[in-house]
């Protein structure tokens, strides 16, 4: 996506967020469209927010999860996609544990495909949500210093945020233990740090990432308590950031692993629940754009 397209989406989502806050309704509805949400991987907020976004727009929403689909019966991914395509949806929202699946499916179906998170690749609507949340609090994205901290290697949220925020003129830093830092991350325009004190120095936004359970016990970091000691965000480490720095997290939070509970619930600094609310607004903006002719282009 270009900077212009990103701004179009965020501007529209901004307006929708205001309207939702006032009257729980988007500015307009687009009834009659069919959205199939196809989640091959567990998700609470992304899945719910796409469904709610679709419903608020008056779409017919069909929710398919791995547990209820035929992939358990040996049907291949492409067969599943083609089967659903035959039911003529307008939008397919796809979440999959493997990178590139929405890309693969988009070549097999003739409806719009939205990437709702694929493997360690991208999560574009989350990045738009985070950008909207930052802009609403800070007024701009330009010139801000954003520190993304934690399991960068396995994070699609980090990748999408780095892409989007650098396009929008923010300075992006990534902070992670060496075992969770992906190769060549500096080529994406993010500056890598292996220490929270250095990485958070003067930051406007501290974005914490979830540490996946399976990485915690010895395979990538020795233990959760050691991880929290060096990379968990507490008020001590937060001192390095600007006084008005805000805390973000795409959820779900491991309290006491990557983020201290007190900070997570600090309504003055934590934007975590705003991220959730804005997620619906962004997804409404994206769905609108995709079913209207004025679509600026599919994210992802």
């Amino acid at each position: 996506m270009s900077r212009t397209e990103i701004v179009q989406y965020i501007d529209r989502a901004d307006l929708i967020a205001d309207r939702l806050a006032r009257e729980n309704q988007p500015p307009g509805t687009l009834p009659g469209h069919l959205l199939i949400s196809l989640f091959f991987e567990n998700s609470t907020r992304t899945r719910a927010s796409f469904q709610i976004a679709g419903q608020r727009l008056g779409f017919n929403v069909v929710d398919m999860s791995l547990a209820t689909s035929s992939t358990g019966k040996g049907e291949t991914l492409l067969d599943t996609a083609m089967t659903l395509n035959a039911m003529r949806p307008d939008v397919l929202v796809v979440r999959h544990a493997m990178s590139g699946v929405p890309h693969l499916l988009s070549h097999q179906v003739n409806c719009a495909v939205i990437n709702a998170g694929d493997g360690n690749h991208e999560h574009p609507t989350q990045a738009l949500t985070d950008a909207l949340t930052i802009r609403r609090r800070k007024g701009t994205l330009e010139g801000l210093t954003v520190a993304i901290c934690g399991d960068i290697m396995h994070s699609r949220v980090a990748r999408s945020n780095i892409r989007l925020l650098t396009i929008m003129g923010s300075t992006v830093r990534v902070v992670a233990p060496a075992t969770l830092m992906p190769a060549g991350i500096e080529t994406f325009g993010a500056e890598p740090f292996e220490s929270m004190a250095e990485g958070l120095e003067g930051a406007d936004v501290v974005m914490m990432l979830r540490l996946q359970l399976e990485r915690m016990h010895g395979s990538h970091v020795p233990s959760t308590r050691e991880y929290f000691r060096f990379f968990g965000l507490d008020s001590d480490k937060l001192h390095a950031a600007k006084d008005d720095a805000v805390i973000m997290h795409p959820g779900p939070i491991n309290r006491g692993v990557e983020l201290d509970s007190v900070l997570a619930d600090d309504i003055g600094r934590s934007l975590i629940l705003e991220q959730v609310a804005h997620g619906v607004a962004v997804r409404i903006a994206v769905l609108e754009a995709l079913v209207q002719d004025s679509a600026p282009g599919a994210p992802g």
Partner: protein, 411 residues
Amino acid sequence: MQGGLLTEGKKIIDVGPGLFAEGPPEDAVHIDCAGLVLAPGLIDTRAHLREPGAEHQETLFTASRAAAAGGITSILCTPDTDPVIDGVAEVEFISRRARETSLVKVYATAAITVGGQGRQLSEMGLLAESGVLAFTDANRAVENAGLMFRALKYARSLDLLLVQHPEHPSLTDNGTMNAGPLATRLGLPSRPPIAETILVERDLRLAEAAGARIHFPILSTQGAVEAVLAAKERGVSVTAGTAPHYFSLTEIEVEGWRTFAKVSPPLRVEADRAAIADAVVNGVIDVIASDHSPHHEDSKRQPFEQAAFGMAALETVLPLALEFVHSGRMSLLELLRRVTSGPATIFGVPGGRLAAGEPADLVLLDLDLAWVLDAKEFRSKSQNAPYTAYPVRGKAIRTVVDGRPVFGGET
């Protein structure tokens, strides 16, 4: 060299300049090769032929049809079939099926360890007696260093050749492509080049200590080439091979999650590609093999992480390798050594030379014929390769095995 070659039955009986100065013998079939090059048939030391067990992907017959079209007259097949070739019965099955169905010669290699599981040595002595030319656990290196050391010592005592995939399994993990910025961007689990350097360094030391021969069939990294060069210089009995995709392509081919370019070891970066090409030119790499890995489309039309490794390659070895000659980097004779006499010597395969008494396994090449590689045209049962409109020059136009034409010509 201009000259003539005479075959009788399965053998070459005479060859040399001015052989037919008086004209060819009247009772012989005469093939005029003017403007063409007559060479020994290619010997492919590593191809996955899928029979037995995955005949929907390839059979000895369909593979041999592709091989013949690619100028290959002998194939060493890998043991990663179902069942694994780790016993005399499986070797005899391959020999019989080859005799009954294959247009080219097929030699079995067998697993170093039972089932290729990396735990227990296979019956290498008995397998060698039944005709096995080399031992390999195919796409998986023997991980346990102690077991590999014993395998090398045992192989040395019987003068057998061990062939080892070059990557250490504990470092490749679940990696699906080369590690680096592209893997980070595509969000794919990756395999670092160090996985190859470490395994090659380790086995070179083990082979040196055991006094054994070792062959790395498909090197892909600069680090491994440097390790092999250093070992050759200190006298280790090591030989190395590579496949054409490692000197022709880089990781950029997997952009867009293109599973047809998913191979093991993975395609690397330009510095590695160039190092592999240099190693072919200067002889650190002795052999070019196809590493032909046919897969049905269903195994490839998958999310990248789930898709199978490997590409169909029997018909691409010759045209891709000839690029070294066209670019002036190698003489034709030097290049042919990498695919004929080189592998013949290392693996003990009959053929690979134009000399009286050698098998009449021959290929007639049109070096300058320009054509376009397109995987859809492959004669292999599977067409999984990332070439769609890849311009090449040089082609086998007639292939002969044991004096019998198996490809091209009117007979």
